[in-house]
Homo-oligomer: 413 residues x 2
C-alpha cells in the first residue's frame, strides 16, 4: 500500500514546533510494508489543505492527516473536509459524551471551545479519541481512505496504535511478507562503507534492498525484503546478514534495531553488570540516555554530574594535582572520574566525560569541541580523546553517543 | 516573500530520521518576514522531486531544498536539477578543491564517491560548502530562486547562516519591518486561555496577530506585527504586551523567546544563585536541560542522579525510615533529596525529582506517571505531586519541564 501524510499547522511553518507525527507514522507503517510517498506540511489554510488532499488521494491509496483540530480559532480543517467530502457539520452525541468524559477525567470543565469538538462532518465515520477531545475522522471515496487525526503527538500515537493501524490493516488486506534486519556499524564513514559494500549490493536479488541510515557518529544499515514466500524470504535475509558480517567484521557492533542505549542496556543485563556515570561536559545526558530505556533501573545505579571542578575533586576523588598539571579536560581526569564514580556508587562499570562543549571555554590545548571520555568495566579502563566540530548541542550529543559506543565495544569481548 | 521547502530522502519516509532542517529554516526566516507556504518531504525519486520543484516554483518566490546530495547510490537530485534547469553536469574545479580541502581537514582520503561531488549542473551558481563535501547550488528561473543544500543539518544550518540567508536577503530586498514578542504562559490550558483572550484578539489591529504555541506543559504566546513604520509598530507592540500582562497576570511567567532552561538560567545569574539537581525518575534530564544552555557553568554546580534507593540514602542523606514509611515516591523524600544535594554540593538552590516513569514500577498509591518534585531556594522549599499520562519519555519530559517551571515561579518573587 502507498500512503501520503498531511501535517497541518501554522506553528510548524514558523518552526516553533517540530513535526514528529510523520516520523512516528512512517516508522510504524514501514515494517508493515506500507510506503509513504510524501509528507506535506501545510498552513491552517483551506486552499492549501484542499490542494494537499486532492494530491494525496490522486497519488496514493491512503491519506493520513494530523493537526488542525485544536480549539483555537485558526482551525479550519473540519470545514474543509466537510466541503471536500460533501455533507455538512452535525452535532454527534457519542463524540459529545466522549469529549465530556475526557474533560472530566482531566478535572477540567467543558467550555464553548471543547463543546465545538463534537461537531463532525456527516460524510465521516468517527473513531472516538480515548486520550483527547479532538475526534478522529475516517472518510472514504472511490476505494481510497483519508483519516484525520489530532496534532498532539501523544494522542495520534496512542490512537494510531489502538485503532487506526488495526482498522487500516483490516481494510487493506495484503499477502506480501516483509522482513527487515538492522546492523549498527561504527568507525567507518558512509562513503567508504558504500565502496566496501559495492559488490554486496550488486549481487542482491531485486526483492532485497540495502539502505544506509547515517546517525550521529555511526551508521545504521537496514536490509529490507518483500516476498510472498515467507520461508524463502527469511532464509535469504539470514544469508545476506552473514555476508554483511563477513564483509565488515568488527565494524558491526550490534544486530539490533534499538536505540544505542537500549543495546548497551541489554548487554549489561545479560552480563549482570551495574553502571554509573560521571559527567562534566555532557551534563547528565549520558545518564538521561541510559534511563530513557524502560527497565534501566536493573543496571543503572546513578550518576554524579560534576560540572564544577570542586565536585570532581570532592565527590569523585579526582586528584587536584592532576587537574592542575593536566587540566580538567585530560585523560587522567576522565579516568579518575570513571574510577571515582564506580567506587562511590559501588558499580561494576562506569562512563566518564570531561570536555569543552562551548561556545566559550576553549584553550589552545583543548579547543571547543574537545572531549576526553573514559569507560571502566571491572578493573579494566579505556579512554579516548575526541574533537567535534559544531554547536554546543552537537558536541554534547556526539560525546554521549561515542561514550556509549566505547562502552559497547568493551562489552563485546 | 513566500517560500517552500523540499526535503529529500528515503530515510525520512520510513521514519528512521526526523527532519529538523525545515524547522530550523522556518525558525530563522520567520523573523525576517519570510513565510513558508509548505514543506514537502519526498523520496529519492526523480519524478517526485521534479513534481515538488514544479509546484514550489509555481506557488512561491523561493524554493529551499535539502538532502539527496550524499555519496551513496540512491542520490539523484543533481541529475534531476540538471534536467529541470537545463544544461549538463560538469566537473567544477573550485568545488573539487573545496571537497579536497574538507576531506583533508577531516584526515580522510578522497575516493570515487567524494570525487563525484565536484560534478555540478552548468545551470547553477555554486556556493562552496565550508563544512562538508556536498556543494550548495543556486538556480534562477523567471525571477524565482531555488537553492539546493545538503541533508546534514549541521552543514545546512552553518551554510544558511553564513551564506544562503544573507544572499537571499540581498537578492529580495524588502521594506516591511517585522516585530515579534513572546510570552511564557503556565497553569492554564489552551482552550481556556483562548476564551480569556477573545476580546483581546478581536480588538487587535489587522497588522498584528496572536498565535498560540502549545508546548509540553505550558503555552508560548507569540504576538507578530508587520508595518512599514517601525516606530509605530514597536509602540503598538509594547502597548499590546502590556494589555496581555493585564489580562493574564501571574499566568505569564516570562517575556522571553528562550528555552525554559535558559530563562531559568538568566534569573539565577541575575540573582547570583548557584544550583544543583538531585534526580531519580528524570535520570539526569533536568541537569541536561540546564547544561544545554551556553554559560550554564556560571550557576550550575552539578547533580546527583540517585536512581537506586541506596544512592538517595548514602549520598543525599535521605532518611531510610522515611523511605520505608512514605515510599521512595513521596514528598519527604523529594524534599530531602533537594536539601541533601544543595548541602552536598554547597549550592543556593536545588531541584529534586522522584517518581515512576514506567512502564513498570507502579503501585496503587503511586501509579505509573506519578512524580514528586521539590525546589529549594535558600532555606525555602516547595514541592508538588504530579501525575502524567502517557509513555516513559513523556513522563520524563513533562516532569523536567514542570520542575523548571516550579523553580521559575520561586525565582519570580
Amino acid at each position: 500500500m502507498t500512503y501520503s501524510i498531511i501535517i497541518i499547522g501554522d506553528e510548524l511553518l514558523i518552526g516553533q514546533v517540530i513535526d514528529t507525527n510523520s516520523g512516528w507514522i512512517a516508522r510504524h507503517l514501514a515494517p508493515l510494508g506500507w510506503q509513504a510517498r510524501w509528507v506535506k506540511v501545510v498552513a491552517d489554510s483551506a486552499a492549501d489543505i484542499e490542494q494537499a488532499i486532492t494530491e494525496g488521494l490522486a497519488q496514493t491509496d491512503v491519506v493520513l492527516m494530523t493537526g488542525g483540530l485544536g480549539p483555537t480559532k485558526d482551525d479550519i480543517t473540519k470545514a474543509t473536509l466537510c466541503r471536500y467530502f460533501g455533507g455538512e457539520l452535525r452535532h454527534d452525541e457519542a463524540t459529545a459524551r466522549n469529549v465530556a468524559a475526557v474533560v472530566e477525567a482531566r478535572h477540567l470543565k467543558l467550555n464553548d471551545y471543547t463543546r465545538t469538538q463534537a461537531m463532525v462532518p456527516t460524510s465521516c465515520r468517527v473513531i472516538q479519541n480515548q486520550v483527547g477531545t479532538a475526534p478522529i475522522m475516517w472518510f472514504e471515496r472511490d476505494g481510497k481512505v483519508l483519516v484525520s487525526m489530532p496534532g498532539v503527538p501523544f494522542e495520534t500515537e496512542t490512537m494510531m496504535q489502538r485503532e487506526v493501524i488495526p482498522q487500516l490493516l483490516e481494510r487493506f488486506h495484503s499477502d506480501v511478507h516483509l522482513a527487515q534486519r538492522h546492523l549498527v556499524v561504527t568507525g567507518i564513514i558512509e562513503s567508504l562503507l558504500a565502496m566496501k559494500l559495492d559488490d554486496f549490493e550488486r549481487s542482491l536479488p531485486a526483492w532485497l534492498h540495502l539502505a544506509y541510515l547515517p546517525q550521529t557518529g555511526w551508521i545504521k544499515l537496514r536490509l529490507t525484503g518483500m516476498h510472498s514466500d515467507e520461508q524463502l524470504l527469511n532464509g535469504e535475509m539470514d544469508a545476506q546478514v552473514t555476508r554483511l558480517h563477513n564483509a565488515l567484521g568488527d565494524a558491526i557492533v550490534a544486530d539490533d534495531d534499538l536505540p544505542l542505549a537500549a543495546i548497551v542496556g541489554q548487554r549489561l543485563r545479560d552480563r549482570g553488570l551495574s553502571i554509573a556515570t560521571a559527567e562534566s561536559c555532557t551534563g547528565g545526558n549520558v545518564a538521561h540516555a541510559i534511563t530513557q530505556v524502560a527497565g534501566s533501573s536493573d543496571y543503572f545505579v546513578g550518576a554524579v554530574v560534576s560540572y564544577a571542578t570542586r565536585v570532581k575533586v570532592d565527590q569523585l576523588g579526582v586528584s587536584a594535582a592532576d587537574v592542575e598539571r593536566h587540566s580538567v579536560v585530560s585523560q587522567p581526569v576522565a579516568e579518575q572520574m570513571a574510577t571515582g564514580v564506580s567506587r562511590l556508587l559501588n558499580t561494576d562499570c562506569a562512563i566518564a566525560t570531561t570536555g569543552v562543549a562551548g561556545p566559550g571555554g576553549g584553550t589552545p590545548d583543548n579547543p571547543v569541541g574537545t572531549v576526553w571520555m573514559a569507560v571502566r568495566v571491572g578493573e579494566r579502563i579505556v579512554s579516548q580523546r575526541k574533537h567535534y566540530p559544531g554547536t554546543r548541542d552537537r558536541v554534547i550529543t556526539r560525546a554521549t553517543t561515542d561514550a556509549l559506543l566505547l562502552l559497547l565495544a568493551q562489552l563485546r569481548g
